[in-house]
C-alpha cells in the first residue's frame, strides 16, 4: 500500500511494538530473573532491573546444577542436546539426500510404492509410533544412549520430499553430461548433486537442528539417567514437584541457555543460505 496517512503509520507501529513486547517480555523477564537470588524472584512484584548474580547463577547451573529436583549440571545437558540436535539434523540430511537420490535418479521395482510409503509417513508424527519405537529401542539395549536418542528421529519424510522436489528441478542433461564425462552415480551425487543442494542442506539443517534441540517427549521416555538428559528435559526436572520451593533464578538461567544455540544456528546459517539463494543458478 502506498497510502500516506499519519494515523495509519502510528497504528501499524503500535501493532508491531505490541507484538514485539508480547514475545520479548517473557524472555526479558527470564533474563532478569536469572540475575537475582531465588528469594528475590519469588518476591512479588519481581524486580525488573538486573540483579548482580548474573555470573554466579550461570556458573552454578552450567557446572554444578541446581540443588532441588534434577542436580545434573546444565553444561552436560547442553552437550547432550547439542549432540542429539546435530546428530538428528546431520542424520536426517544424509538419509534424505540418499533416499531422494534413489527415488529421482534410479529405476527400480516398486519405486513408486516406496515413494508413497515415505510420503504417507509424513502423516505419522513421532507421538503415534512412540510406544513401538520405545519397545524396539529397549530391546536393542539403546535406552540412555545417544543412538537411542537420535536414531528414531532421523527418518524424515519431509526432508526426503524436499530434496526430491529439488532434484527434480535439476536438468536431466546435467546427469547425462556427467555420465558421458564418465562419472558413476555416486560420483555424480557427491561432486554435482550435493554441491548444488548446499542451499537446501543449509535450510534443512536449521530446521532439523531446532527440531532436534526442542525434542521433549522422546528423550523423556528413553532417558532415565541424569547425565543423558537434554536441556529441555532438564528444565522440567529442575522444577521440583510438590511444595518444594523452586530455584527460579537457576531455572530461568537454564531456559536462557537453552535458547542460545538455536538462535546462533539461525543467525549463522541465515547468512549462509541467503548467500546460497542469491548465488545458486541451475
Amino acid at each position: 500500500m502506498v497510502e500516506k496517512r499519519r494515523w495509519l503509520d502510528v497504528l501499524s507501529y503500535a501493532v508491531v511494538i505490541a507484538g514485539i513486547v508480547v514475545i520479548a517480555f517473557p524472555v526479558y523477564l527470564a533474563l532478569i530473573a536469572s540475575t537475582h537470588t531465588a528469594e528475590a524472584v519469588e518476591a512479588a512484584p519481581m524486580s525488573l532491573i538486573p540483579g548482580d548474580l548474573l555470573i554466579d547463577n550461570y556458573r552454578k547451573v552450567l557446572f554444578e546444577g541446581g540443588d532441588i529436583g534434577s542436580r545434573a549440571p546444565v553444561g552436560r545437558m547442553m552437550l547432550v542436546s547439542l549432540t542429539m540436535a546435530v546428530g538428528i539434523a546431520v542424520g536426517k540430511i544424509i538419509i534424505s539426500l540418499l533416499s531422494a537420490f534413489a527415488i529421482v535418479y534410479f529405476r527400480f521395482p516398486l519405486k513408486h510404492f516406496f515413494f508413497w510409503m515415505i510420503f504417507i509417513t509424513l502423516m505419522l508424527p513421532v507421538e503415534v509410533r512412540i510406544t513401538p519405537t520405545y519397545e524396539v529401542m529397549s530391546d536393542l539395549g539403546l535406552l540412555n544412549t545417544f543412538p537411542g536418542l537420535i536414531m528414531p528421529l532421523i527418518a524424515s519424510a519431509t526432508a526426503t520430499f524436499l530434496f526430491r522436489q529439488f532434484f527434480m528441478t535439476v536438468p536431466d542433461e546435467l546427469a547425462e553430461a556427467a555420465r558421458i564425462d564418465g562419472a558413476g552415480p555416486m560420483r555424480f551425487f557427491f561432486t554435482i548433486l550435493v554441491p548444488l543442494s548446499v542451499t537446501n542442506i543449509a535450510a534443512m539443517f536449521v530446521i532439523q537442528f531446532i527440531y532436534g534441540w526442542n525434542q521433549y517427549l522422546w528423550p523423556l521416555l528413553i532417558t532415565t539417567s541424569e547425565d543423558m538428559y537434554p536441556i529441555v528435559i532438564g528444565i522440567k526436572r529442575m522444577i521440583g514437584g510438590g511444595d518444594a520451593a523452586n530455584e527460579w533464578n537457576l531455572i530461568m538461567a537454564t531456559a536462557i541457555l537453552a535458547m542460545i544455540p538455536p538462535a546462533i544456528i539461525v543467525l549463522l546459517m541465515q547468512r549462509w543460505f541467503i548467500k546460497g539463494l542469491v548465488e545458486t543458478e541451475k
Binding site: 553430461a177 555420465r179 558421458i180 564418465g182 561432486t191 554435482i192 548444488l196 548446499v198 545458486t280 543458478e281
Partner: protein, 354 residues
C-alpha cells in the same frame, strides 16, 4: 577418431516405434548432420550413439566396437547439449577438466588440454568464472571446450545453437565449421534448422517420422530431393508442390482443381500419370507462359522479394530480384525451365527422374 556405423537401428517405447531402421555409416572425420522436424527421432538416434537411450534393435559401431551394451563413459564420445548442461557450481576450468579428472589424467596433461581448448575457443580470460557469469555464447563455447578436451572418437551435437540469438548462431556456426576443419573429429550434429544443416554438413540425413528420407551432400539434397517431404523441408522458402496429372501427350500438367500448367519441354515418359510437380521459388520467374498466380503479398527482404500467391488452391512463393513488385490482387504470369521441374510419384512420394 573413428567412424560411426548404424546397422538397421530401431528404437521403440513400448509398442510405439520412433526410429524405424536407420542404416548409415559416418566416415572417420566426417561431419554429418541429422536434420528433421521435431519428433522425427533425430535426437533419439544421437542419444543412442551417446548411450543415453537403449538401442531397441540393430547395432551401432563406433570404430570397430559394437557399443550397444557399453556405458556412455566407455563409448568415447563427447556431447554438446542444447542447454549446454554446464555444472553450475564449477568454474569454466573445472567444467572442462571434470571428465579428464575422472579419467585420471595427469594434472599437467589436464592443464595442457584445457588451456589449449581455451585458446582455440577464446576462453582464456574466463577460466576462473562460473557459468552464470558468462554470456550465452561463452557458455556455448565452454560446452564445446568440455567436448574438445576429451579428444574423443566422436563429437555429438544436440541442437547446440538453438539457445543463441540469430546473429550469434551464424557466427558460432562458422566457428564450428572452422573447428571441424582443424580437428577433423568425426561429428554427428542434430538440428531442426535446415539452414544450419545445409551450411555445416558434409553429408546430411533428412529424417521424418523415424525414417531417413534422404542421405546426401547438402547440394545433392537440395537439387535432387528424394521425396516430397525433403523437397518441402529443405530450402527456405520451401519448394512449391502441385498435385495433379500430366496430359496424354506429356505437354501440360493439370493441377487438382483444373488449372493447366504448360510444360516447357514435353515429358512423354511421364505422360498420363498422377504426379506431384515441384518448383523451387527461385526457379519461377515473372514473364513466360508456364502458369498464372494471383499475388497475395510481397515480402521485401532487400536483396530479393518473396512474392506470395495462390495457384490452383496452393500457396506459392516466388523468389525474385528487387525489381519485381507486383500489386497484391493482380495476376502474375510465371515461367520456368524444364530443368527446374522436380517430379514425384503421387502415391509413393518418391522422386522420379524424367
Amino acid at each position: 577418431m573413428a567412424s560411426i556405423e548404424f546397422q538397421d537401428v530401431r528404437k521403440s517405447y513400448g509398442t510405439n516405434q520412433v526410429v524405424h531402421g536407420i542404416t548409415l555409416t559416418v566416415a572417420n572425420g566426417e561431419f554429418v548432420v541429422l536434420v528433421g522436424p521435431s519428433g522425427c527421432g533425430k535426437s533419439t538416434l544421437l542419444r543412442m550413439v551417446a548411450g543415453l537411450e537403449e538401442i531397441s534393435s540393430g547395432t551401432i559401431r563406433i570404430g570397430d566396437r559394437v557399443v550397444n551394451d557399453l556405458e556412455p563413459k566407455d563409448r568415447d564420445c563427447a556431447m554438446v547439449f542444447q542447454n549446454y548442461a554446464l555444472y553450475p557450481h564449477m568454474s569454466v576450468y573445472e567444467n572442462m577438466a571434470y571428465g579428464l579428472k575422472i579419467r585420471k589424467l595427469a594434472k599437467a596433461e589436464i592443464d595442457r588440454r584445457v588451456n589449449e581448448a581455451a585458446t582455440i575457443l577464446e576462453l582464456d580470460g574466463l577460466l576462473a568464472r562460473k557459468p552464470r557469469q558468462l554470456s550465452g555464447g561463452q557458455r556455448q563455447r565452454v560446452a564445446m571446450g568440455r567436448a574438445i578436451v576429451r579428444e574423443p572418437a566422436a563429437f555429438l551435437f544436440d541442437e547446440p545453437l538453438s539457445n543463441l540469438d540469430a546473429k550469434l548462431r551464424v557466427q558460432t556456426r562458422l566457428e564450428i565449421q572452422k573447428l571441424h576443419r582443424r580437428l577433423r573429429t568425426t561429428s554427428l550434429y542434430v538440428t531442426h534448422d535446415q539452414v544450419e544443416a545445409m551450411t555445416l554438413a558434409e553429408r546430411m540425413i533428412v529424417m521424418n517420422a523415424g525414417r531417413a528420407e534422404q542421405v546426401g551432400t547438402p547440394d545433392d539434397v537440395y537439387s535432387r530431393p528424394a521425396t516430397t517431404f525433403v523437397a518441402s523441408f529443405i530450402g527456405s522458402p520451401p519448394m512449391n508442390l502441385f498435385e495433379g496429372r500430366t496430359s496424354a501427350d506429356g505437354r501440360t500438367f493439370t493441377a487438382k482443381d483444373g488449372v493447366q500448367i504448360a510444360l516447357p519441354d514435353a515429358v512423354p515418359a511421364l505422360a498420363g500419370r498422377e504426379l506431384v510437380m515441384g518448383l523451387r521459388p527461385e526457379h519461377m520467374q515473372p514473364g513466360g507462359r508456364g502458369l498464372e498466380m494471383r499475388v497475395e503479398t510481397v515480402e521485401v527482404l532487400g536483396a530479393e522479394h518473396l512474392i506470395h500467391g495462390i495457384v490452383a488452391g496452393n500457396d506459392i512463393i516466388v523468389r525474385t530480384g528487387p525489381q519485381d513488385h507486383p500489386a497484391p490482387g493482380s495476376m502474375l504470369a510465371l515461367g520456368f525451365t524444364a530443368r527446374a521441374v522436380h517430379w514425384f510419384d503421387a502415391t509413393t512420394r518418391q522422386r522420379i527422374d524424367a
